[in-house]
């Protein structure tokens, strides 16, 4: 199993009340950004990733968001380029580049090839559609999001593999002269990994391409459902999906004591946490989701997609002058944090506390890639580093041994899609539903 470390590289200096008043991280005014602290943080997070390598993690994972202090990885390829040079061993996993938002796949092909070359073949490149808010920030037409995603992806593969020069006239992209001289170090191209929050369309697309799909902190039951869907699609494509096809990422904070982990782990709900990444109108811009997804949403008013549901979309504008009970909001968020721990959506505790939980998750979901999502909120650097140390020293050896015992092979050990099914052969199980723990309310 491949174990990686990920952090959103949060901007830790926005007063929490500002986020709560804004009801979201997206659209908090950038007047709260301090360039000196920003400089310190960008350098610190690079150092933190280097420390993860030193401690023995297999990979370091980065992502990208825009206009949002929740994640300061705004131009992830720049950070990845630096890591390509200052690390030596770890895979550099990008989860992932928001293709429709960047809108320039030829440039993307060149940037990624450069990272792969500088790192001498350690790039694992992932693709995403970009969060809804990113469509606004980058003025990317949400109604063309999926089309642009697929076309950009197909183009990049061609740019890396088809001898140039050639001309490209697509639907959304047009290039007169495709002949990039920076070509990937890995042949035919870097491995892919597709992160997501359980959009069936993305799961299917990943399976059709034999790309590993990595669930981003998604509930065990629905994740198992979608991995079955992936495996069904894989079987239709003629291969048996296995651990190499699946990854899982989970918010984790480990400290020397459970008490300290619980206290600092509240950083995951700072300002409201991931559920207030962006306000509903920015999370689901018109046209961003498929018609089927909208139909599902319309029939489930209480259902939720990234914290958004039909009722929230039907709410009127925020009343900026309404009084806010900050303490009540914080108390509610703390309740949600406790619930998310009970439901295996967040791991907080000492190493001994979380090891068994991780083993349960490995048993149920059988991922070949497991990613620890480091702390959010204003957690001091020394506690962030201690989290890494404890994970590497006490948690990683235990879970790696367990993964070996139950046969969780990573995509870097077993190429996804290599295990072919014979015509008519039934596929094997990819999850163990019998091990799903009882979910409490």
């Amino acid at each position: 199993m491949h174990v990686a470390y990920f952090t959103e590289r949060p901007y830790r200096w926005v007063p929490e009340d500002v986020v709560i008043r804004n009801k979201a991280f997206f659209a908090v005014p950038n007047t709260y950004f301090d360039h000196v602290r920003g400089a310190d943080d960008y350098n610190y997070f690079l150092d933190e990733y280097c420390y993860a390598e030193e401690l023995g993690f297999d990979g370091v994972a980065l992502n990208e968001h825009h206009g949002n202090p929740f994640c300061m990885g705004n131009v992830m390829n720049v950070e990845a380029s630096i890591l390509a040079r200052i690390t030596n061993r770890v895979k550099i996993i990008l989860i992932g580049n928001p293709l429709p938002v960047i809108k320039h796949p030829l440039r993307m092909a060149e940037e990624l090839a450069t990272i792969d070359l500088i790192s001498r073949g350690r790039l694992v490149t992932g693709w995403v559609r970009g969060a809804g808010s990113e469509q606004f920030f980058n003025n990317a037409n949400p109604a063309y999001n999926r089309e642009m995603f697929e076309e950009a992806h197909d183009f990049i593969i061609q740019a890396w593999t088809r001898p140039g020069p050639w001309r490209y006239e697509g639907k959304h992209f047009h290039y007169r002269h495709v002949n990039p001289w920076a070509l990937p170090y890995q042949k035919p191209h870097p491995p892919m990994i597709i992160p997501g929050v359980l959009s069936p369309e993305t799961v299917k697309w990943s399976a059709e391409h034999s790309y590993p799909y990595i669930g981003l902190g998604t509930s065990l039951g629905p994740t198992a459902d979608l991995w079955d869907y992936y495996a069904d699609t894989a079987a239709e494509m003629g291969y048996q999906a296995g651990p190499e096809n699946f990854g899982y990422l989970i918010p984790t904070f480990v400290a020397d004591t459970d008490e300290k982990a619980q206290e600092l782990g509240k950083g995951f709900i700072y300002g409201g946490g991931q559920t207030v990444f962006s306000a509903p109108q920015y999370t689901l811009p018109p046209g961003y989701n498929s018609k089927d997804a909208i139909r599902r949403l319309s029939k489930q008013p209480g259902g939720s997609w990234l914290g958004v549901n039909r009722n929230k979309l039907m709410q009127a504008a925020i009343d900026d002058d309404a009084p806010i009970d900050y303490e009540a909001i914080r108390a509610r968020a703390e309740g949600q944090l406790r619930k998310s721990q009970r439901n295996y959506l967040t791991l907080l505790g000492s190493p001994d506390t979380i090891i068994d939980k991780v083993k349960t998750m490995l048993t149920v979901l059988r991922p070949g890639t497991f990613v620890f999502f480091g702390p959010q909120g204003p957690v001091p650097n020394e506690d962030r580093l201690r989290n890494l140390e404890l994970l590497a020293k006490y948690v990683m050896p235990e879970i790696k041994a367990y993964a070996e015992e139950i046969g969780l092979r990573s995509p870097f050990e077993t190429p996804p899609g290599d295990l072919k099914l014979r015509m008519g052969e039934a596929r094997g199980a990819v999850v163990d539903r019998g091990a799903v723990p009882t979910v409490e309310g």
Binding site: A143, S298, L313, M314
Partner: protein, 264 residues
């Protein structure tokens, strides 16, 4: 109140596109291009005009009944489809009333072929970069906020009839479809076309009535000013107290302005 005119829906083939058209009334054709939220149904003002005209409402592709048309990627493309429909049905030279984004499509048609319309009524018109202010970014708000922002008076009877009460799943879906298609063809630049004023300056003497509610939150007064500057022969009417939907907020004032213009 006048007797409600019977309406019917025809499906008319325009090239490969089966366009659903709502028709009601008797007389010469009067085209109506609905706004970005979709055809709201047959209203008081439709009924009134249907006593003198056959009111013809093509339903925009991707808005429920007419299928989505992939090659339509701008309001100019949409105008092209509507223009072909009018030519092939013998409706060229009819007057037109366009609402909001429907006015954008009408203006695109007029810019390309001024003789397609005898007269043009543009209500809360989008399509031109406002000389002052900004077109409200209704795609960056929730559906409920968007719909509410279209009127000044949410108690207006026909608004309540159309949009009041709990939004049903079907309404939710239709609004989402409408907003998705508006995003698809109007996202950037948002709901205007910078080449349009240059072409509109060549529409000659095409009589054009510009109607705007005084409290319109969607189309600022700068939209009207831009149309006044672009089109040589315009008359402007402001309907006091109305928002972006004067035809449902104050049907009497709206009809008074339209009748005076069309009947003149």
């Amino acid at each position: 109140m006048a007797v409600t005119v019977a309406t019917r829906e025809d499906v008319i083939q325009v090239g490969e596109v089966p366009v659903t058209v709502v028709r009601g009334g008797e007389g010469p054709p009067l085209m109506m291009f609905h706004d970005e939220l979709g055809y709201p149904g047959w209203m008081t003002w439709n009924n009134e005009l249907a006593s003198r005209y056959e009111v013809i409402v093509p339903l925009q592709p991707a808005y429920g009944k007419t299928p989505k048309v992939d090659w339509i990627r701008s309001y100019r493309d949409l105008g092209g489809l509507y223009a072909r429909l009018m030519r092939e049905q013998g409706w060229s030279g009819a007057p037109v009333i366009g609402f909001s984004a429907g006015a954008f499509a009408a203006a695109e048609i007029a810019a390309g072929c001024p003789s397609m319309f005898s007269k043009m009524v543009l209500v809360g018109p989008l399509g031109l970069r406002p000389t002052e202010g900004e077109i409200f970014d209704f795609l960056a708000v929730t559906i409920r906020t968007h719909v509410a922002a279209t009127v000044s008076n949410v108690e207006a009877p026909e608004y309540t009839q159309m949009y009041g009460g709990e939004m049903t799943p079907l309404q939710f879906e239709l609004f989402e479809d409408a907003r998705a298609e508006t995003a698809r063809i109007g996202w950037e630049p948002f709901m205007f076309n910078d080449s349009l004023p240059h072409l509109l300056s060549g529409v000659g003497s095409l009589p054009t009535l510009l109607v705007r509610g005084s409290d319109d939150l969607i189309a600022p007064q700068g939209c009207i000013t831009a149309y006044e500057a672009a089109i040589p022969n315009t008359t402007s009417v402001s309907i006091a107290g109305a928002g972006h939907r004067p035809e449902i907020e104050d049907p009497e004032a709206f009809l008074s302005a339209v009748n005076a213009f069309l009947g003149a």
